[in-house]
Symmetry: C2
DNA sequence: TGAGATATGTCTAAAAAGAGACATATTGTA
DNA sequence: TACAATATGTCTCTTTTTAGACATATCTCA
């Protein structure tokens, strides 16, 4: 019965936390959009539209959470994203507030 | 600096998890809409529009996560909501999938 | 050479979510 | 008695999000 909800819930969590997940991934190492997409798809099992991801990356950069630099590899261009100090503060804030909110309710 | 993000993040979490929070509240005891509203506002500190909550309660009932019964108290009518077995399965599924997704990334 | 994967980007139409008003009635308190 | 709080409900306009196409180019492997 729980399995009935599974797909729906995983999709929901992935959507709600896409920016957070992206920032988290980038705390491990700088990465380009396509790799971020593949990584998230691999860990969550949810297909991610690149038409959603690229605009998100732009938005995160505009907010100052990410910075990017273009990398040439032969004729292939990659836009490498690095998380900023502000970006790290955001995920830290998100994590602690989430924990705080959850502990106010009593969840096992 | 973290404080800068606080309001935005709390609001975001409250919105994303409004249905889950509502279901959780109702695992403690049956409750009517207005009380749910006040409880959530008290624990989160975020104002909740009743124009958002009442339609949500209807939707949760239609999905079979809640059932309701009207209670008369003098001239005052309250619609008491009780969580169903299916509703409990949903929050259990949500909780375990969230934990699972979080542990796939490595978060302290 | 052709197909599939890698790589990035935009745009539009449709769907969903949001704010906030309109609407009404009771209860408690100053 | 008047005001604030309790209580429930709908509706519309606006904003945001989403799906999915349009667009282009390279790289790898059969």
């Amino acid at each position: 019965m729980t399995e009935q909800f599974r797909k729906e819930i995983v999709q929901r969590i992935t959507r709600n936390l896409l920016d957070i997940q992206t920032l988290r991934l980038l705390t491990a190492e700088p990465m380009w959009g396509y790799k971020i997409k593949k990584q998230i798809e691999a860990t969550t099992g949810v297909k991610l539209r690149h038409g959603a991801l690229y605009p998100l990356l732009n938005a995160l950069e505009q907010k100052g959470f990410l910075k990017s630099q273009k990398q040439q590899q032969g004729g292939r261009t990659r836009k490498i994203y690095t998380i900023t100090e502000k970006g790290m503060e955001y995920i830290d804030a998100y994590n602690s507030i989430l924990k705080e909110q959850i502990s106010k309710q009593n969840i096992k």
